[in-house]
């Protein structure tokens, strides 16, 4: 069943249109997509740009495991996870996650679950470059 998974790490703009175009499947009733985008403001700090780095083979494998676990838990027909690495300027997408299912609840739940898990386990890190010239790796500590 792995043909229904499309997992990629990319170093350039995510080609959103080409991913979302290829969607017609007669057994699908619901398609849901999420784009994570670099935001200018976090609290009172202003972001100029973000840089993402990864343990690439482990991140690729981690995203594949994530997609497979989503297929086990939810009734999905297709899963797409694309994560961009390197610089991702404000207003551009760092991640695209999409899925399709016969019924919409599976796609909604899977999308939120995959984003939560991605942020929890996949070895990808972002470095904030603030407008004041400082930079900072984001290493959130789980509570």
């Amino acid at each position: 069943m792995s043909s229904r998974l499309q997992i990629e790490l990319v170093d350039d703009r995510i080609a959103v249109r080409s991913w979302i175009d290829d969607a017609s499947d007669p057994d699908v009733g619901a398609i849901a997509w999420f784009l994570g985008v670099t935001r200018r403001n976090t609290g009172d700090r202003v972001t100029d740009t973000l840089f993402y780095e990864a343990h690439r083979p482990m991140a690729k494998k981690g995203l594949e495991v994530l997609a497979n676990l989503a297929c086990e838990q939810f009734d999905l027909r297709r899963v797409v996870i694309i994560h961009r690495l390197g610089e991702v300027p404000v207003g551009q997408a760092s991640v695209l996650v999409g899925c399709s299912s016969p019924h919409r609840k599976d796609s909604f739940d899977a999308l939120a679950w995959m984003m939560d898990e991605l942020k929890r386990v996949v070895p990808i890190w972002k470095r904030e470059c603030y407008a004041d010239g400082t930079t900072e790796w984001v290493h959130p500590v789980e509570s």
Binding site: G36, Y52, E53, A54, H55, P57, M58, A59, K61, H83, S94, V95, M115, L118, K119, R120, V121, V122, P123, I124, W125, K126, R127, W137, V138, H139, P140, V141, E142
Partner: protein, 81 residues
């Protein structure tokens, strides 16, 4: 034995290299490797307790042995997405 540990993100910036060589027994546990890594600098002493160790591209338990490992990596708290 001498073990190369891959470093990422703030750990790599702190050490100034994308790997570090440490000296540990052949059958050292992940916990022992982490302990050695935390001795490398004051910054690493703070960061390493929040990190996970990956052996051959999988997260390892504290008790897992590095014996025969092809790759050991220190994985700081992640922030993808």
């Amino acid at each position: 034995m001498s073990l190369n540990v891959l470093l990422f993100a703030a750990a790599r910036d702190d050490i100034g290299s994308d790997y570090v060589e440490i000296d540990v027994p052949d059958n050292a546990s992940a916990a022992l490797v982490m302990s050695k890594l935390s001795e490398l600098s004051p910054f690493m002493a703070e960061l390493v307790p929040y990190c996970r160790l990956a052996i051959d591209e999988r997260y390892a338990d504290a008790s897992a042995s590095i014996q025969g490992a092809r790759e050991v990596a220190l994985i700081p708290p992640v922030s993808g997405g």
